[in-house]
């Protein structure tokens, strides 16, 4: 019997050498270990074995059974593994074929720039406020120290809806609305659409601005410079050169225009910066005493600064866009680039 058991193991081991499928392994399992299998047959004869040998033989039988089962399992796993590997080898696709892309949407470049500007100033505690695009002359001009019949009005060609009603020429009207409604201190950012009757490659009858202003006690021109420096560095680069030039706006004094060093030619002079090495990007200044007067603030009670940024101008510089009309033409080939 011992010999039979050992021979069984030998037989299984031999038979496994020639099987190639899991199914065949299972057939072997049935044949040798099944209820009617060889092992069972052998064990049936256990009753003929002398009592004292039974424990030894019993142990051997169990051992052989486990070993055979192990052989079967091992072979089965081996076959399965080989099969999987074969399949994996066969499942080859051309990964260079184009992917299945969902349609990609895009933000308008003006939205991207506006969001970026807002994010910078929000970090400095400015809140976003909007104002009307059609406004009374008072808010757009008069209260901002643009007297009637003054050449300063020539700086902004104005669309009229009625004698006293204009399409705002700047978002500075929000200054007046805000100051009339609130008491300082406040830091406000006013993005929006503005209009001037002018149209060519660098002027659009409709364009966008972000106006910012801060009113408090003891606000200084140096602080205006600090805030605008942070802005320019955040929007362009931390080491961007800045230049503050005196300028004139009726509603600020001292007034300034701010240039950044041309990042295309690094100051050497190129077509974009008209050979000056500088790019004008915003206007700013200390809020004019006449403006405070027109909103009813007491003389000397507050000081403040204001600045205005042209969104299109920034977007044109950032993205290398050479014609302002592209923003409003809305060709999908343009929009998809952002």
């Amino acid at each position: 019997m011992r010999e039979q058991l050992l021979a069984l193991k030998e037989e299984v081991s031999k038979a496994l050498g020639s099987v190639t499928t899991e199914q065949e392994v299972d057939q072997l399992r049935t044949r040798y270990l099944g209820r009617k299998g060889s092992l069972t047959q052998i064990l049936r004869r256990m009753k003929d074995v002398p009592e004292e040998e039974r424990p030894v033989l019993g142990n051997l039988a169990n051992q052989i059974k486990q070993e055979v089962a192990g052989l079967l399992d091992g072979r089965r796993a081996q076959i399965r593994d080989e099969e999987r590997q074969r399949k994996v080898r066969e499942e080859r696709i051309d990964i260079s074929l184009p992917g299945r892309r969902p349609l990609r949407g895009a933000y308008h470049p003006l939205t991207l720039v506006t969001r970026e500007i807002i994010a910078v100033f929000q970090g400095m505690g400015f809140e976003v406020v909007e104002g009307p695009e059609i406004d009374l002359d008072f808010y757009n001009f008069e209260a901002l120290n643009f007297p009637r019949d003054h050449p300063a009005r020539d700086m902004q060609d104005t669309f009229y809806v009625a004698e006293d009603v204009v399409l705002r020429t700047h978002t500075s009207n929000v200054q007046i609305h805000t100051m009339k409604a609130r008491t300082p201190p406040f830091r406000v950012l006013a993005p929006g659409t503005v209009y001037r009757c002018d149209s060519d490659t660098t002027h659009s009858p409709m364009f966008h601005q972000v106006e910012g202003f801060l009113v408090d006690r003891d606000v200084s021109f140096a602080q205006l410079k600090g805030v605008l420096a942070v802005f320019c560095q955040a929007l362009f680069s931390p080491d961007v050169p800045l230049r503050f030039r005196p300028s004139f706006f009726p509603f600020t004094e001292p007034s300034a225009e701010v240039d950044i060093g041309c990042f295309l030619c690094r100051g050497a002079g190129c077509r974009v910066c008209s050979q000056t090495g500088w790019l004008e990007i915003l206007g700013a200044g200390m809020i004019h005493p006449e403006v405070f007067k027109s909103v009813g603030y007491h003389r000397d009670a507050y000081t403040g600064f204001a600045f205005g940024v042209g969104i299109e101008r920034i977007a044109m510089l950032k993205y290398g866009i050479d014609d302002i009309r592209l923003f409003f033409e809305n060709d999908q080939r343009f929009l998809r680039q952002f």
Partner: protein, 801 residues
């Protein structure tokens, strides 16, 4: 305002390059937009003196000139008729290439050996003058390079002068800025007058009937004038700064206007009736022919310079045609006046004439400088050798200038600028700008601005001057001291951002269209006359009729943008716009501005690709996008209503959207006739909703809702219904009658056709059952479903398939 570096050097020492000066001025608030160097290429052109002049023996009109060229003599054949012995002239020697490209060679013409060519100004590209050979000043030594002899090299700076700085509309004003910054002396031109009797008061007089409009009027009279061309240097200088030389009188008035900023006008005194000047307001409807030949109709606001009988000039704007200086003029009356700025501006605007004079008057000139400018011009005219200046000026100065004093405090200057300037430095800057400073040892001082600075009226004006001269770039940056409070953007702003994010995520591209609209864009939409959108707000001065109004809907421009893209073969469009529309609000001056969100879908449902189906979008793509958008705002209770009143949408494939019974917008397929009107062949799907409705939901608080973790059981259910029963009715009833353990009902198939009977449709639903606390058995589900069906089917007239 154009100036040349050479001209500036007449008044202030300049060792810097033109570019350095341009940079200095720019940093001081006089932005130099262009700095062009003028370097005539006149190598080989030298000065020569005509030693003798001999007519050619056989060819009539030709002259054989012997020229002294400073060493050797040369002979040149010349056809010009304006030469005389002793004249100084430019000679292009053989081998010279003239600016126009012409090469000069020594040649023998008509038997005469000619060693070069005498040139006209035009041949040297120095002016348009080609009347004869250019004449150089009589004292020009022969044999010099012409460039050096005439100092032709110069640099032209184009300065953008802001409206507050009329003083810098003059070369002296610009020079003053350089002198102040560099602490150099400003040298004024010397005025020397040789006056002769009779006095001007004996031949002419000034009468001012409108002193508010003309507080000062100065006139000088010059007799025995000979009108002719100006000397070369004057013509050249005017030409460089963009003025056309006219004649010696007018050129001098222009020169002095540019030098001092005071516009002058020269009248032919003999053409003034009774040789006198009357300044008065025009009568309504009165006419004058200005020197540009235009007949102008005037209003009572306009100011006129008249003689004893009629208007002779539109004051401060343009002279009259009939009193103009002409070649035969011998007696000149020079006007140097101050006109009230706003009046000049109104006249100039109303008549649409802007001149060098009106530009300066409307920005305000120096009332104290009128006499000086008149004297300067008179002196120049007589020193050019022309004319006799009559003694004394006529000067009616009815409202003399009274300087204002401004009280300053050093500490306030430093506090506002954020600087720590010393008083001496501040005063130095102010004095450099010709301000008078009264300083009493303390920190308070008084400043009297000069008369040519009308922009300096208050403390802040003076502070700006200090900052300007000190240099903005020198002021150290600082940060605001006030505590920062972080403010969340308001709900409208956040709603805009969220809407953009969702739509971009869904594959839409954002567009920005003009707020302007025109009949081409809104008429095809066919709003009924009662619709508020049918009457847009009109502009008084539009750029064109197509941009004559402000839009009342985003539809017109968004559809036009769509059509434009389709014409350019940009297919498969998903576009959206977020913008304001403008709606009349009864009699109120200002219209309502309403923010709208609109989107359009055309073409393929998927991006084109080898493995993508080529389905086209339909109504349900649009609806799905819109519902996803509403879902992002957590808006659950919205409904779609038909019919929709929007004329521009297809009545069968469109609807209105309501949130809690409030209509927020409409969506659907574009009406085929509108589609055609915009020139589109594709089906277009469009929605427009008010942003306000979304904004009111953006603050919807987010609360976690526990979900059942027991395994869900799904059962499919097909209902056969009358084909006219809308899905909404079925789903509403299903929701109404569903057991609480039904957690989802999904329509997964819609079918008409055999074996479903004619006139019927089949709707197949997948129903999900789930109990939060335990697993449901088949039997329980059967029971729930039976009860559900028995309540549902009769009301719908439906049967199970």
């Amino acid at each position: 305002m154009q100036v040349t570096l050479g001209w500036l050097k007449r008044y202030v020492e300049i060792e810097e390059s033109a570019q350095e000066i341009a940079d200095l001025l720019t940093r001081q608030g006089l932005e130099v937009s262009e700095c062009a160097s003028v370097r005539p290429r006149l190598e080989g052109v030298i000065t020569a003196r005509v030693a003798s002049l001999e007519a050619h023996p056989s060819s009539e009109g030709l002259w054989i000139c012997r020229l002294d060229t400073g060493g050797e003599d040369r002979s040149v054949l010349c056809g010009a008729q304006n030469l005389a012995e002793g004249d100084c002239v430019p000679l292009a020697v053989p081998g010279t290439s003239l600016p126009g490209g012409k090469l000069i060679e020594a040649v023998t013409i008509h038997g005469v050996f000619s060693e070069g060519m005498l040139c006209s100004e035009r041949e040297l590209e120095l002016s348009e003058d080609h009347a004869g050979i250019m004449k150089l000043p009589a004292d020009t030594p022969p044999g010099l390079e012409l460039e050096k002899a005439l100092r032709l090299e110069d640099d032209v700076l184009d300065i953008e002068v802001t409206p507050n700085r009329p003083d810098c509309l003059s070369v002296i004003g610009v020079a003053r800025e350089i002198a102040a910054k560099k602490r150099r002396e400003l040298r004024f031109p010397k005025i020397s007058l040789e006056e002769r009797l009779p006095s001007s008061g004996e031949v002419s007089s000034i009468e001012i009937l409108a002193p508010e409009a003309c507080p000062r009027y100065v006139a000088r009279v010059i007799e025995d004038v000979r009108v002719g061309p100006s000397p070369f240097w004057l013509r050249r200088l005017l030409g460089l700064v963009g003025l056309r030389p006219i004649n010696n009188i007018v050129d001098v008035t222009n020169f002095v206007m540019l030098e001092w900023g005071q516009p002058l006008h020269a009248f032919d005194l003999d053409r003034l009736a009774e040789s006198r000047i009357v300044v008065r307001k025009a009568r309504d409807g009165e006419r004058i022919t200005t020197l540009d030949g235009e007949d102008r109709k005037l209003s009572g606001e306009d100011l006129l310079i008249c003689d004893a009988r009629r208007p002779v000039a539109l004051a401060g704007v343009m002279g009259g045609l009939e009193s103009e200086i002409h070649d035969g003029t011998t007696r000149v009356l020079l006007e140097s006046a101050y006109f009230e700025p706003r009046g000049i501006r109104r006249t100039s605007k109303r008549l649409g004439i802007s001149t060098e004079a009106s530009y300066r008057f409307e920005r305000e000139i120096d009332i104290e400088g009128c006499l000086r400018a008149a004297d300067r011009a008179a002196g120049m005219i007589t020193s050019l050798g022309e004319g006799r200046l009559l003694a004394g000026a006529l000067d009616v100065y009815s409202m003399p200038y009274r300087p204002g004093k401004i009280r300053m405090m050093l500490s306030r200057i430093n506090r506002l600028l954020g600087t720590s300037l010393e008083k001496e430095e501040v005063l130095g800057h102010l004095r450099g700008l010709e301000m008078r400073v009264e300083d009493d040892a303390g920190e308070v001082f008084e400043v009297t601005p000069p008369s040519f600075r009308p922009d300096l009226r208050m403390e802040m004006d003076i502070i700006e001057e200090v900052a300007r001269l000190y240099g903005y770039d020198e002021i150290p940056p600082d940060m605001p001291k006030a505590p920062v409070s972080v403010v969340r953007p308001d709900s409208e702003r956040r709603a805009e951002d969220l809407a953009r994010d969702v739509l971009v995520g869904l594959g839409f591209c954002e567009v920005v269209n003009y707020s302007f609209t025109g009949p081409d864009l809104f008429e095809p939409l066919g709003f009924s006359t009662g619709d508020i959108r049918a009457k847009p707000v009109a502009l008084q001065n539009p750029l064109s009729e197509a941009q004559g109004f402000l839009r009342t809907t985003l539809a017109g421009s968004l559809l036009e943008t769509t059509a434009m893209n389709l014409r350019r073969r940009n297919r498969d469009l998903r576009l959206f716009e977020l913008g304001r529309v403008f709606l009349h609000r009864g009699d109120e001056a200002l219209p309502e501005e309403r923010k709208m969100l609109a989107a359009v879908m055309v073409g393929g449902r998927y991006a084109e690709g080898w493995n993508q189906p080529d389905d086209s979008v339909d109504f349900f793509d649009l609806k799905g996008a819109l519902e996803t958008l509403l879902d992002a705002f957590r808006i659950e209770s919205f409904e779609w209503k038909r019919p929709e009143q929007n004329s521009y949408l297809h009545p069968g494939c469109s609807g209105g959207i309501l949130i809690n019974t409030t209509k927020i917008g409409c969506a659907g397929r574009l009406h085929p006739s509108v589609q055609e009107a915009f020139g589109m062949e594709e089906e277009v799907y469009f929605f427009e909703i008010g942003l306000e409705a979304l904004a009111s939901h953006v603050d919807h608080p987010l609360r976690y809702r526990p979900f059942a973790r027991r395994p869900p059981v799904e059962r499919d259910l097909a209902l056969v219904l009358d084909e006219t029963v809308p899905y909404s009715r079925v789903i509403d009833r299903m929701r109404e009658h569903a057991d609480p353990r039904v957690t989802a009902i999904e329509l997964f198939d819609l079918y008409e056709g055999p074996p479903v009977p004619e006139g019927k449709q089949s709707m197949a639903f997948r129903i999900t059952y789930q109990d939060p606390s335990r697993n449901l058995t088949d039997e329980e589900i059967n029971k729930i479903q039976e009860a559900f069906l028995s309540r549902l089917l009769p009301g719908l007239g439906a049967s199970l398939r």
